[in-house]
Amino acid sequence: MDALLDYDVNYFRRQETRVDETALSGSSGASLWGKPVDVRVDRVVREFGATPALRGVSIDIAAGELVALLGPSGSGKTTLLRILAGLDAPNAGRVTFAGEDALRLSVQQRHIGFVFQSYALFRSMKVFDNIAFGLTVRPLWRRPRKSEIRRRVMELLDLVQLSGLENRYPSQLSGGQRQRVALARALAIEPRMLLLDEPFGALDAKVRRELRRWLREIHDRTGHTTVFVTHDQEEAIELADRIAVLNNGQIEQVGTPAEIYDKPATPFVASFIGETSALPVGVRSGKLVLDGTPLDISVGGATGGTHNLVFRPHDVTLRPANGGGTVTGRVMSERRHGGSRRLDLEVGPARHRVEIDVPPETENAHRGDFVSFLPSRWWLFEA
């Protein structure tokens, strides 16, 4: 029993801890403490009154994986996170941790490190007591000795680079520091899983980027199964192993950042991850047709009917204006966009608006000029 509860000093530093951890398991109930678990969410439904927040969400998360739940506000991502933590319960569906029914466990029993969007640090306690909280509330027979708790807290402070601040109150810390205290407090209980709700939402851009990299490092060092909620696609792409894109209470797509970015499964995913332009097109004898004019784009499987041609502004090739088979539009406005120039085009008699990026020095592509192009990479979605 002692070995199970003993906090491994080098838990966060050693990669080979996995081996030790298997040795720790095997006791009833508490067998999985501290060991990363795999998670299975199966057709989870959650309704608030008549409004559905989750409409049958399923996702498998591997042990030690870092997963982002990405979606606009109201998409249900935070609700899903709270259900995983046990702070909320689904109306239907199953949630299992390492094959064990998680819904039967209370918040306390789930043993999950949860970092709140507002951090929810205990304002009446100093940083030290905040981090130690999870250990000091354990029942006596499982509570580490005072000196032991102190050692762990100091180690965690070191891990989150806040050594020396243990006697401050939360209000005396900056946003980024509070965020790290919240993380240390969650890690102190040796959680089976780490859940973070908009972990960088309240921070300014620079701190956000630093903490992002730092969180990735912590995750790689500690190996926890980690799920975080964000509405920032850049954050999800940079940080996560896999991204689950949620919209309107449903998962639209789960995949690696590259998959999500390069092969969006739905128009929503395409437009939510990165910028997109879209044109309504038809299909005639294997070619796309825009406003009655065939384009120089062949499609194999697609049949008739209307579709949306979706592409990224930077995935376009300029074509000579008289070539035909291209998309031609008049430049309505132009502006600098990163390393290129972004043109706002009005295409055809129906005046579809699209945005494309061209090299800044491109000639004859200014306000009032006509520009022809074809998307070099595109997706076709049923309209």
């Binding site: 046990g86 709140f116 205990f122 209000s171």
Partner: protein, 290 residues
């Protein structure tokens, strides 16, 4: 490039400040008002009480009936304040941290003692527990005496002072939300541990103010208590009632002596509050900013 002289800005007054004259007038009005309505009566109480010398003052205080009144007042406060502390914390916890049907009704009920005249509240107890009241015959048959006895005074005081703690706590608890409690739960803390380690420390200052106010009112309550007390000397007279009786008997010195004790109590309450604020200024400021 031409040398552009940067002219000093015209005298700029912060937008939230008033002209000097207006400030002086406003401050003078406030100070005069405070002096006339608050400070002067307080001074008069002590001057009158000590007017006939310290010996007379002391004799008035150690009078048998005066001592009984002091004892009764302390007893009533010692029961009413802890009772309302528990009720108040429980009620505000319920209202601030949970959603349930009838919540607004409960919130209104808590305010009831503030809106009802104390005399009316006293009368309600007479009508319920009195000899001719609803439960009167049953109580009499079982030998329980509530009206014109200490239990009635305690009940009336609890009723009148009920809102003080809850009113102080509800806004701050609502403001703090339930995230701290959720965080504590996710860290493995159960209900009571969370309450004592997280919820209570978060509200301790508001709670202290609530208790101090509640105590001041419990000791000073006159209206409701005078209806249920029966004013039996040495038995059911609290300090405020004793003051009134003495005053009506033209025993001015004795009346002011007892009154001065009540005033002293108020001053001590204020002093304790100020001391605590000064002593924990850092912690207090730190928590407010959070």
């Amino acid at each position: 490039m031409a040398d552009v002289a940067i002219s000093p800005p015209a005298v700029h007054r912060p937008v939230t400040t008033e002209p000097r004259a207006a400030r002086i007038v406003l401050i003078a009005v406030a100070v005069l008002f405070l002096a006339f309505f608050l400070l002067l009566p307080l001074v008069v109480v002590f001057v009158e009480a000590l007017g006939a010398g310290i010996g007379t003052y002391w004799k008035a205080l150690v009078d048998k009936d005066a001592l009984a009144a002091i004892r009764l007042t302390l007893l009533v406060a010692a029961i009413a304040v802890p009772a309302n502390l528990v009720f108040g914390v429980a009620a505000s916890w319920l209202i601030a941290k949970f959603e349930f049907r009838g919540k607004s009704v409960l919130t209104t009920l808590i305010d009831l003692p503030f809106s009802v005249s104390p005399v009316t509240s006293g009368l309600i107890y007479v009508l319920v527990f009195g000899a001719q009241g609803l439960l009167g015959p049953w109580l009499a048959a079982h030998g329980v005496k509530i009206i014109f006895a200490v239990p009635g005074i305690v009940l009336a005081t609890i009723f009148v002072t009920f809102p003080f703690v809850a009113r102080e706590l509800i806004p701050i608890m609502q403001d703090q939300g339930t995230e701290d409690e959720e965080a504590a739960a996710s860290l493995g803390a159960h209900g009571l541990t969370t309450f004592f380690r997280v919820t209570l420390p978060n509200i301790k200052w508001a709670l202290l103010y609530g208790v101090l106010l509640c105590n001041a009112r419990a000791m000073g309550e006159f209206g409701a208590v005078s209806v249920v007390s029966g004013k039996i000397r040495g038995q059911t007279n609290t300090m405020p009632l004793q003051v009134e009786i003495l005053y009506n008997e033209y025993s001015y010195v004795a009346a002011f002596a007892v009154a001065s004790l009540l005033a002293l109590l108020a001053l001590v309450t204020l002093a304790v509050k100020s001391f605590l604020e000064w002593r924990y200024a850092g912690e207090l400021a730190a928590q407010r900013r959070h």
